[in-house]
Symmetry: C2
Subunit: 231 residues, 2 copies
């Protein structure tokens, strides 16, 4: 590939799960900060790229179509799948199209974007951001976040053949990278991921990798900036 | 194909979006009711199939892998994609793998499963099912449901080349079927989809199709059963 991708992003779980995967793929990309605290993702120029007005969005100038080129894509579930399809032809982080592992990866990726992400996002809202204290919401989403990580613990436990190191088979896939984005952010809720032993090991192994450390800093999340200030 | 698929399902938006697509594909399937009101989806036998304990789940005995056969798959975003990949080789309801339309379909499918579905699900909870009245939750999710349908109206409006009939290009895709499952269920929240003119037409066109009418009855939703009792 020749030209750098553009990644419109911010220091949030959905943002850095894409930058982390870009680092694993070794792709050149420009991280373009879209400050969601200033509602930049709802501005006209951004909504043209993503009607839903949320980061992340990518632009890949290398994508060719007819006489034209360039692909604009949003939704991490779609972006991660696109990147794996396009830039992981050797299947270091994916499985061949049409295989059982390919669809199991997709199942757990969808589980992440449709349940782990949205529910943990609601927990963040009620616990950290809501302008009033709503105990019903706090309880509902705290409990469901814990249930969901319990499901992931179960999924890892079923992969004994690979020492429960990966969600699917014998390698990291977009299902792992997507989950990691939110798992690493559990700390802002004061939830210790090590209460699920397999997930704790899984988290620590990924957290130690240089691609993760670099990807997470594409636009550093607040908690990371604060952690580093304290050092 | 030879053997019927198994569809573990219930009369909910996530359930019938799959049965509707199976009807469009003309596939044989056995709908196996899993009564979520009795927590059957949390029972041991079901959790073995889907660690997340939620319908729908499919079993396709025709899937071949090595010497073995059969695929068990959950998460509607994964199930619909699998069915399109496997059983729509002529691309009546999909676009070829790797094309721009393929990824735009995936983007809007993921938008449905990661935002429309979860948020409307929370609205249903706070408005219809929560054991206490929580105004903050009711307002938060009612407003966000309306915002999200506004985004879909915008997406349809961008497809003027095809009279705004479809979310992507010139045909129905899994992005439409997934959204339809939840759009048709807006009536339980007394939200009239016709307040978004393009979505209203889109809904009515799909609702009139025999495949939709049949698919929605695989396990009929409560509101449909009540509607038919009143006739």
């Amino acid at each position: 590939m020749s030209q750098a991708l553009k990644l419109y992003t911010w220091g949030t779980p959905n943002g850095f799960k894409v930058s982390i995967f870009l680092e694993f793929l070794g792709l050149k990309y420009d991280a373009i900060p879209v400050d969601i605290s200033k509602n930049e993702s709802k501005s006209d120029w951004f909504v043209k790229l993503n009607p839903n007005g949320r980061i992340p969005t990518i632009e890949d100038p290398n994508f060719s179509k007819g006489g034209d080129s360039g692909l604009v894509l949003s939704q991490t579930g779609a972006i991660l799948q696109y990147l794996a399809d396009t830039y992981d032809k050797e299947h270091k982080f994916s499985y061949p199209y049409g295989t059982e592992e390919y669809y199991k990866t997709l199942e757990y990726l969808v589980f992440q974007v449709s349940e782990n992400g949205p529910i943990q996002g609601q927990a963040n809202h009620f616990i950290l951001y809501a302008p009033e204290k709503v105990p019903y919401g706090i309880n509902r989403y705290s409990n469901d976040v814990k249930r969901i990580y319990g499901v992931y613990e179960d999924i890892l436990s079923r992969n004994k053949a690979n020492d429960s190191k990966y969600l699917v088979g014998d390698r990291y896939t977009v299902a792992d990278f997507a989950l990691f984005g939110w798992a690493v952010a559990l700390r802002v809720l004061d939830i210790d991921i090590h209460q699920w032993p397999l997930l704790g090991k899984w988290h620590d192994a990924l957290f130690a990798l240089p691609q993760v450390q670099k990807g997470i800093r594409a636009v550093p999340p607040k908690w990371l900036a604060e952690q580093e200030k304290q050092k």
